[in-house]
């Protein structure tokens, strides 16, 4: 397909490869005359720009020349004596010799400098002209009388080419071999003579005696040195012969198809299986001349009226060639279609013609008489070489790389892993963070980070984050804020007396803009105010001549008791006062946060924050700080504000900005890790073990973090981090990560992680646990801030007694009243891992010790229990980050593999921590982390609530929506039901035991394949037609896999188990309902659903013998009324059995046991 046209009858030459722009030189062709009989001739250069294809090539320069051109070539050579001609030299074959033109001169239209040299070396017309592609200084030319000259552009001299070939005949064509520099060929009408320049003589003659040929054109194979094409322009036998010199007796193959003599051939330099020929029949054919195949026409241009007398491939653009024809056209064609603008081509042509031939009638022009088909699919039928990518490569999510290769005719695939030891630190840091998240040793983590920070700012940030883990975050926040303001205030954590701070602070206040500061009385008052010491402020006011303010101030906090008339008087008084201090006092008195925010000089945000902390309801503190953070300009202060307000999104946004704006030279991994750890640790501080809902920015950070971890081959770790978010935004990331994990086997961690560089961090910090003093703060502040979290809607406090927690709960929980959020019944005691590791070093302590309490919020669980997934994470218990790490091994036998054990216990820093944490020292032997608190540990608590002792029936008051009701009404129903268990529940323990034994024997292997099948086929909903974004929701929306109606009966051997639990459930349900504890009721409902999972597993025989016997034992204990042992059995189950196997119901059983225990 023609993409551009030059309206000339011209011989053309492409610019050599060293030109960056593709140019086309056209010299007016000799032996042609147009309708005007003009004899003028010119040499023109056009530009062919693939980026801006035009129907008519734009002219870049032209000169007129004396003679018309038979043949034109373009050498990149710049002659030694003329350094200016970088554009190369155009060599034109003319009537009796060759002329050398400077391409630069043509381009600059410099008529006088254009002609460099004129060689009248021939006696006839020079039709034959070729430039050596290997030695572009050598030009061969041929004319009549067998004259062949070699001209050396370097020496500007003619090299004798040897004796003439006899009989004397016209040289129709010459061609340099493309592989061997000193070989060239010349064609005469009935023979082809090959020459060796070094010998200065002919070396071979090709002649086809069998057919009548008249050779017109010759072209060497661009790839195979011994092959050439000879075209015959004899109308009776128009053909192209391919000769191979290795067998020179006859042509190798013959291309027949043209109906009249062939004028020109062009062998595609970029794909030697492709050759084009142009003939007097007006056709241009493309041939597939690949070695092993029969030659066939694979491409054809539309027939043209005039003779296409010359074809020439662009040396640069593989698919493009030019066809010069005698109908006043040079067409630039693309064999792959190119971009054609047929409309433009057809309309532009006539006008151009008009310009060229002023006064002529357009009607005379013939080239547009028959409009060409605008777009035919004229693609060459065989895929050209230059489109064949030799290979490709691709990365997988988990850091693998695949590439194709071809060797020895084999198309292979190579899988490799890309690793970088430089990034190990990143992975190790992530492991450490994960570990601390899993163990709830985040307070220590914060301390460690603060200690190792390079800058004060970062240290401060970590101190602020740490505040969330202190017994009283607000108090710590105040202390931190005050610490900066009062330079002399002690950093001793015990210095909690505000008066002490005040004493230290009054002297050293420095002048600030809005909130008065300084050594004067005003500054002192302000300072006392800021530090929350009202008494001191009042005193200072009274003694400093601000009696009115002082008196008003003394009434702060007792607004309700103040008479309206006083308020009026106060308003009037303050309206008359213009001083900053008075305004501030006024705002405080009126609880007018907005005016403070407006008034705020953002550089004084600390002072304002302190005012908020001291004089506003604690519940408002974080929202106010959030508002304040909007006004703060400095990014470091904004970070502090964001942390202080517990606003993850703002923090994440700032972190993103920081990462984005940091110079590329700083390590991405380091800054990413810094950002993520801050956000995650803060989120745990804010949300506790509640599922955290991350916003857009946090999700962005976390996604990137997880992807990087996965790219380091740490998909399991990445999945643990991804699972920290319970919104749906990371659903797919989780799925992706999940799928990269080996099915149902857990990764040996220690193989991947080289330990030494992980510090055993906490050794340096002996004071890991909150001191009693801190606990006291917790007490003193706890009581007055009951609605601390209520301003944050994402949190739905679950009313529950704090007493259900053992003494080892992390600091945030110790402030019981301020953060009700953290309290869930049966909540996980933190750091089970370390506790276990310490107490039971022989138990494997890695993943199996993290069975999630409920499968509902982690991915592994969602495979079984998809219905649960979306069902309101706030209400559902949070799953520890480590829960879904990797599914525990499929069989218990594998699990007890000693190697696994050793790798599992060898987690870095792990052993070092536990012994040093006093509170981790359980008195009780290893229990699951979600076991109920032991009595001994409870004794460490400052308050033990009645429900923790098995004998206590009444739940803690706070946990009850209607405490009076619950406590005060003994409820007849309750007493009725709290009796002996229903008969069904009394299913014979011996029977169960017997069955369990049978089961253990009966199920050696059968369960395993089924189970593994479960693990591997991570089924994603098949995507049906409506694939839109709402797929996401449908993905996670309840999908009940097995319709209840079609459930087969439970095999009889499992019936006791199923019925036993059912009975226990019914009993417990009755009792719970008797207590009218709505929360517990909800849990009971939950349990009923999960028990169905157990039944399903039993139905399909999916449970291993270990699980079955464990379950039987548990049931037996419970039926005997020994809940403690039952729970122990249960705990053993959680560690011994694959989570995937039992995860769908085990947590439910535990809840059931605990409920039964509590109410039983």
């Amino acid at each position: 397909m023609a993409v551009s046209t030059i309206h000339r009858t011209a011989s053309v030459a492409w610019s050599p490869l060293n030109h960056n722009t593709v140019l086309l030189a056209a010299g007016t062709a000799a032996h042609q005359v147009d309708a005007s009989f003009s004899t003028s001739s010119s040499l023109e250069i056009f530009e062919f720009n693939p980026g801006h294809l035009q129907a008519d090539l734009p002219l870049r320069g032209s000169v007129t020349c004396k003679e018309r051109v038979y043949k034109l070539v373009w050498s990149p050579h710049s002659s030694a004596d003329d350094n200016t001609s970088h554009g190369g030299i155009l060599i034109a074959g003319i009537e009796n010799g060759v002329v050398l033109y400077s391409a630069d001169a043509v381009l600059s239209q410099n008529q006088s400098a254009a002609e460099i040299k004129r060689l009248q070396s021939h006696t006839g017309a020079v039709h034959a002209l070729d430039l050596s592609s290997l030695m572009p200084n050598l030009v061969a030319s041929g004319s009549s009388e067998s004259e062949i000259n070699i001209y050396d552009l370097n020496r500007a001299d003619v090299i004798p080419s040897g004796p003439k070939s006899y009989p004397l005949d016209e040289v129709t064509s010459v061609s340099w071999n493309r592989k061997i520099g000193h070989i060239y060929a010349s064609s005469f009408s009935n023979r082809c003579v090959l020459w060796d320049l070094r010998k200065g003589d002919s070396i071979m003659k090709l002649q086809d005696s069998s057919t009548r040929t008249r050779y017109r054109a010759i072209e060497w194979n661009p790839d195979i040195a011994t092959q050439l094409a000879l075209a015959s322009d004899d109308d009776h036998y128009p053909c192209v012969q391919i000769w191979d010199l290795r067998n020179a007796s006859s042509a190798l193959k013959t291309l027949e198809g043209h109906t009249r003599g062939i004028l020109s051939v062009g062998w595609c330099p970029h794909d030697s299986s492709f050759l084009i020929s142009a003939a007097k029949d007006g056709l241009v054919y493309g041939w597939n001349v690949a070695e092993e195949q029969r030659p066939e026409v694979v491409y054809a241009l539309p027939q043209s009226k005039g003779w296409p007398f010359e074809v020439s491939w662009s040396p640069r653009i593989p698919s493009v060639f030019a066809v010069s024809s005698s109908d006043n056209q040079v067409k630039i064609c693309d064999i792959l279609g190119g971009a054609v603008q047929p409309d433009k081509a057809n309309t532009a042509a006539p006008s151009n013609l008009e310009e060229s031939f002023p006064g002529m009638q357009i009607g005379l022009s013939f080239q547009n008489a028959t409009p060409q088909p605008s777009r035919t699919s004229q693609n060459i039928r065989k895929a050209p070489k230059w489109l064949r990518r030799p290979g490709a490569l691709s990365f997988s999510l988990d850091g693998k790389l695949v590439r194709s290769f071809s060797e020895q005719e084999v198309a292979g695939l190579e899988l490799s892993s890309v690793s970088s030891s430089k990034d190990r630190q990143f992975v190790e840091d992530a492991y450490f963070l994960d570990q601390c998240l899993g163990q709830d040793t985040l307070l220590q983590y914060c301390e460690l980070q603060a200690e190792h920070c390079s800058t004060d700012q970062q240290k401060l940030e970590w101190e602020y984050v740490k505040a969330f883990y202190d017994s009283d975050p607000l108090f710590t926040a105040k202390r931190l804020l005050g610490m900066v303001i009062s330079a002399s205030s002690s950093t001793d954590p015990d210095s909690r007396s505000s008066s002490a701070n005040l004493n230290g602070a009054t002297g050293v206040a420095n002048g600030l803009l809005r909130i008065p500061k300084g050594n004067d009385a005003e500054g002192a008052v302000a300072n006392a105010l800021v530090l929350g010491d009202v008494t001191a402020a009042v005193n200072l006011c009274l003694t400093g001549g601000r009696e009115a303010e002082g008196l008003c101030l003394s009434l702060i906090g007792s607004e309700a008791a103040i008479s309206p008339s006083f308020v009026n008087a106060r308003e009037i008084f303050f309206a008359s006062r213009g001083a900053d201090l008075s305004k501030i006092i006024h705002s405080l008195l009126r609880q007018d946060a907005q005016s403070l925010l407006n008034l705020a000089d953002s550089t004084q945000w600390r002072e304002i924050a302190l005012l908020f902390a001291n004089y506003f309801p604690p519940a408002h503190f974080r929202p106010l700080i959030y508002q304040l953070s909007q006004t703060v300009e400095s990014s470091s202060d904004r970070t502090l504000c964001a942390i202080l307000s517990g606003n993850l999104e703002t923090l994440a946004a700032i972190c993103l900005e920081t990462i984005s704006s940091t110079s590329p030279s700083s390590s991405l991994f380091a800054s990413l890790h810094h950002a993520v750890q801050k956000v995650l640790v803060l989120s745990r501080g804010v949300f506790g073990r509640q599922p955290a809902f991350f916003g857009k920015n946090s999700v962005r950070l976390l996604t990137e973090y997880c992807l990087h971890l996965a790219a380091h081959g740490e998909s399991a770790l990445a999945l643990r981090f991804a699972n920290l978010d319970s919104s749906n935004s990371l659903l797919w990331l989780k799925k992706q990560l999940q799928s990269t994990l080996p099915p149902a086997s857990h990764r040996p961690l220690s193989n991947k992680l080289s330990h030494p560089s992980v510090p055993s961090p906490f050794e340096k910090r002996p004071n890991l646990v909150p001191t009693p003093a801190q606990n006291q703060y917790g007490n003193s502040y706890g009581g007055m801030q009951p609605t601390y979290n209520s301003a944050f809607p994402a949190l739905k406090p679950v009313p529950q007694a704090s007493g259900s927690y053992p003494g080892v709960v992390p600091p945030p929980i110790q402030n019981t009243a301020t953060q009700p959020t953290f309290y869930q019944p049966l909540g996980p005691p933190p750091s089970p891992m370390s506790a276990q590791a310490f107490q039971n070093p022989h138990l494997p302590t890695s993943f199996p010790s993290y069975p999630p309490r409920s499968p509902s919020t982690n991915l592994a669980g969602s495979m079984h229990n998809r219905p649960e997934y979306q069902q309101g994470p706030p209400a559902s218990p949070f799953v520890p980050s480590t829960a879904a790490v990797a599914p525990p091994p499929p069989t218990s036998g594998q699990y007890y593999d000693p190697t696994v054990q050793s790798t599992a216990t060898a987690q870095p820093g792990f052993q070092d921590i536990s012994p040093r944490v006093p509170s981790y020292q359980y008195q009780k032997p290893a229990t699951g982390w979600n076991d109920p608190p032991s009595l001994s540990s409870l004794q460490n608590r400052r308050s033990t609530l009645s429900q923790d002792s098995p004998s206590a029936v009444a739940p803690a008051p706070i946990s009850q929506p209607f405490p009076q009701l619950a406590a005060g009404t003994p409820i007849p129903i309750g007493t009725a039901i709290i009796g002996p268990p229903p008969p069904t529940a009394n299913s014979d323990p011996s029977l169960v035991r017997q069955h369990s034994g049978v089961m253990a024997n009966m199920m050696p292997n059968g369960t395993i394949p089924a189970y593994q099948h479960n693990g591997t086929t991570l089924s994603f909903p098949p995507l049906h037609s409506s694939a839109t974004s709402n797929e996401v929701s449908s993905m996670s929306s309840p999908v009940q896999q097995t319709p209840a109606a079609e459930k087969p009966p439970i095999p009889s051997e499992y019936l006791p188990l199923s019925e036993g639990f059912a009975a226990l459930f019914e009993r417990t349900k009755a009792r719970v309902s008797a207590q009218m504890d709505s929360y517990s009721m909800r849990r009971v409902e939950d349990v009923s659903k999960k028990l169905e999972n157990l039944n399903d597993c039993l139905r399909h025989g999916k449970l291993s013998s270990t699980s079955l016997s464990g379950l039987s034992q548990t049931l037996q204990c419970v039926q005997n009324g020994d809940y403690g042992t039952g729970l122990q059995c249960h705990a053993a189950l959680t560690t011994q059995c694959s989570f995937l196997e039992v995860g769908s119901f085990l947590p439910a059983i535990k809840i059931l046991l605990q409920l039964a225990q509590r109410y039983g």
């Binding site: 895929a383 790389l401 490799s416 970088s420 991405l668 962005r700 992807l707 694939a1027 993905m1035």
Partner: protein, 335 residues
């Protein structure tokens, strides 16, 4: 030190040159396509003990000539693969159970050189393809189950060689990342240009947004680095001029250009890893270089000009049906 550790080498079973290989979004399946007109699907064997290798699971037959490229849709939409080839076809395949079927086929006017599914974050099932006539085709799946097509005619004179979807979070118009996702395409072709196209949200047209002029020969591949963190964005382009260029946009002022490397031979394919921290370049006839972003600089890790030939000799003995597990020698290199 960074290194590339060969885990296994297998015979693909293709009887001609393999033009494209693509991991799916899970890294568990691999699609390959070849001049033998076949697309092959492989499963990555994750067995830790037997080493990692591929097992052939399916042949997709439907193309009538060389298959140039394949692309996986994000699995949100099911297991969906698109392919394009010299037979001018775009075929969209879907796996149901173990069966693969053609769900859509389009025959263009000219060979289709490249194809790419839009990233997940755009929220739509869309794909872009580039053809030899210079057209870029953007197909998007409609709610009624049909595919709507937008064309960018004459995107690259003489042919589009590569398309790559843009970083959806990159939004230089207001200099702020991430508020909305923007559908962008980078393309390269036979006009030596890299062009950036941005979807007009109002009418779905794809006007040209930027023109990155720096190559002196055909652009063979472009790859847009997806990242969630940086204000700036990066596009790399590989060209017949043996250069790989890095184009960076800082989110405010415009595109700047750097040379990643001038190779000894043509760099054909570029591929970022999912985090964008590694860039693989397939160049010459059989060579590969992987670069890593090391604090803003791309440093080469290893160049592997086919080292273990004897290993391959072993492979070549196998026929198309048998897949060797490759050598385990690789597994012991590191630990």
């Amino acid at each position: 030190m960074s290194q590339i550790q060969v885990l296994s080498r297998v015979n693909s079973g293709h009887s001609d040159l393999v033009h494209d290989v693509r991991f799916d979004h899970f890294g568990t399946s691999l699609a390959t396509c070849s001049s033998d007109r076949l697309i092959k699907i492989f499963q990555v064997q994750k067995d830790e003990h037997a080493g990692q290798t591929f097992s052939h699971v399916a042949d997709l037959k439907g193309h009538e000539d060389a298959v140039w490229q394949v692309s996986w849709a994000f699995p949100l939409h099911g297991t969906v693969l698109a392919s394009c080839g010299y037979d001018r076809k775009i075929i969209i395949w879907r796996q149901d159970g173990r069966q693969w079927s053609i769900v859509y086929e389009y025959v263009h006017d000219s060979p289709v050189n490249c194809i790419s599914f839009a990233p997940f974050d755009l929220g739509r099932l869309m794909l872009a393809a580039g053809a030899s006539d210079g057209t870029i085709l953007v197909l998007s799946y409609q709610d009624d189950g049909t595919w709507a097509m937008k064309k960018i005619p004459n995107a690259h004179g003489l042919g589009v060689m590569a398309v790559s979807w843009g970083d959806p979070f990159f939004y230089p118009l207001n200099g702020k990342r991430g508020d909305t996702v923007t559908a962008r395409l980078a393309s390269g072709g036979c006009d030596n240009m890299v062009k950036i196209w941005r979807e007009n949200g109002d009418n779905g047209a794809w006007p040209e947004e930027s023109r990155l002029d720096g190559h002196t020969d055909w652009v063979r591949d472009v790859a847009w680095r997806i990242n969630r963190l940086f204000e700036h964005t990066t596009v790399v382009s590989a060209s017949q001029d043996r250069k790989v260029l890095i184009w960076r946009h800082d989110g405010h002022t415009g595109w700047t250009r750097d040379v990643l490397k001038v190779f000894d031979d043509v760099p054909w394919t570029l591929s970022f890893n999912p985090t964008g921290s590694s860039l693989g370049v397939f160049w010459g006839t059989n060579s590969m270089t992987v670069f890593r972003d090391s604090n803003g600089q791309w440093l080469p890790i290893t160049e592997t000009p086919s080292e273990d030939e004897e290993n391959l000799g072993d492979e070549s003995g196998h026929n198309t049906t048998s897949f060797s597990n490759g050598s385990h020698e690789a597994a012991m290199v590191n630990h």
